[in-house]
Symmetry: C2
Subunit: 321 residues, 2 copies
Amino acid sequence: MTTTLSLAGKTAIFILKNPVDMLGITILGNNSAIPAYNRNPTAQVLSLQEESYLIDCGEGTQLQMTKYKIRRSKITRIFISHLHGDHYFGLIGLLTSMGLLGRTQDLYLHAPAALEGIINTQLQVADTRLPYPLHFLPLPAEGQVVDDKRITVHCFPVQHRIPCWGFVFAQKKKPRKLVIENVRAAEIPAAFYDNLQKGEDYTTKTGTVIRNTEVTIPSPPPKSYAYCADTIFDTSLAERVKNANLLYHETTYLKDLEERAAARFHSTTIQAGAIAQQARVKRLLIGHFSSKYESLDAFLEETREVFPDTDLALEGVSYML
Amino acid sequence: MTTTLSLAGKTAIFILKNPVDMLGITILGNNSAIPAYNRNPTAQVLSLQEESYLIDCGEGTQLQMTKYKIRRSKITRIFISHLHGDHYFGLIGLLTSMGLLGRTQDLYLHAPAALEGIINTQLQVADTRLPYPLHFLPLPAEGQVVDDKRITVHCFPVQHRIPCWGFVFAQKKKPRKLVIENVRAAEIPAAFYDNLQKGEDYTTKTGTVIRNTEVTIPSPPPKSYAYCADTIFDTSLAERVKNANLLYHETTYLKDLEERAAARFHSTTIQAGAIAQQARVKRLLIGHFSSKYESLDAFLEETREVFPDTDLALEGVSYML
């Protein structure tokens, strides 16, 4: 994307790979349990401005990254929701490939504590030392796990057959934007610009108050992506993910298999729709489809009956927030 | 395949899925270390008459099985040569998928001892119990590891960066075939047929000796497949694999990278050819190509200069012995 901005009479052209204020999620796998019908197990890439986060990493994720041109070197953090294989069997291959490709930059791995031993054992038996620092950060029961310059990540427990976590990825509130012509016209000194961006009014030497709203405009509201991993239908999740710009909620089964879904700690289409509605999210993305279904059409139809702004999580497709 | 046999004046038509005396090897992955250029990590399927053996199981092997229509239920034994990830990272996914698909028949896993703990830990953290008996059989330093009705398997050590094994899969010698017209003409009683098939002569009540070669013909000679896994150039391997119908030997590098190959305990094209020549094998199959090569043409050319009966191990292709 090419953006042309006019700044104080000068023209600057920015060529941006991703729009600055946009987060996008790219689906690398949307199937549950067993790969089927060319659908791969769960993996998603959250694209930020200069880096990417990987969310879950089923078998074959590194192959999917090659297929969909996801740059491994941009991934700075990996989040693993739980230790069922369809959510992490591709991780050890990705970690070792990153090493073989010469990665040197830090990688942060947020995952259930038991994964650390599994990875270390597999590296040891192969006599492999990764050439980059791999920081293993066991997930707490719940709370903030990332506080970066532009983004925070919180984890929360979801109810599944084994310990399992969901995540909320949220942009931080951005400072207000200066309307530079007005700022200059008011002769506000540059030293006060930071205060303006925080929303403060300016008082001139003569005592005139220049209201903040006269010289700044609000930045776009921060966006958030909520990922509910594998979960039974649980209305308390709505509070965890409320107002998200995009909610990913699993729909392993169609609505007629509600009992089976509950028995296996999974959800149906209309249950995911109900959570999205209750949480007042803007859009809903559904995935983790059972291998028993070849066509996904009914998933979309059923969920949209409850929550119209629903999309299927389709492999290779990026959904902007 | 349809075979028409004329037996004592009767015509029998046999429709065989696999020819009885034939073993075939199907390549599911032929690349080393990192998947590249649509080449997957090592995995091969040895097709026997009513079952299959899987040899190594890099990441994505279960997907390759689906792609190339390899029936998981036919696999009775899995052999893992060593614990570098490109030879076994697909195993845990395959084992759990077999369980999810309802397998109940026994599965025998011949692998380096350390793999047992890795598998068990991954099953435990997922709270998974396989619905079929998985028999873990740690590889001995060397010797016979399978003695089935029709086939034997021996393992032997190869020199690699970590403990690594090669395998020889050999059909057992078959009993001689009766020429039924001649047997009947000689009035040999049916109770003696087994002895005839073992090669014994028959002496009639009147003392006439009917020589075995008058009433039987030899069965086709037993066939063998030798798999050398990842190995440095090691001429002592020739004795291990001598006279094999088909030898698989790795060629990670072309001949100009002999030093790199040695430093990494791998082999080059002409080194694989030299082993095949010294071992007097019938055919040579080469694979485990480095990700640095996009084209494989030079691998074939260089190896054929030394050993003309060479083929590239190509994904999805079956090589009959």
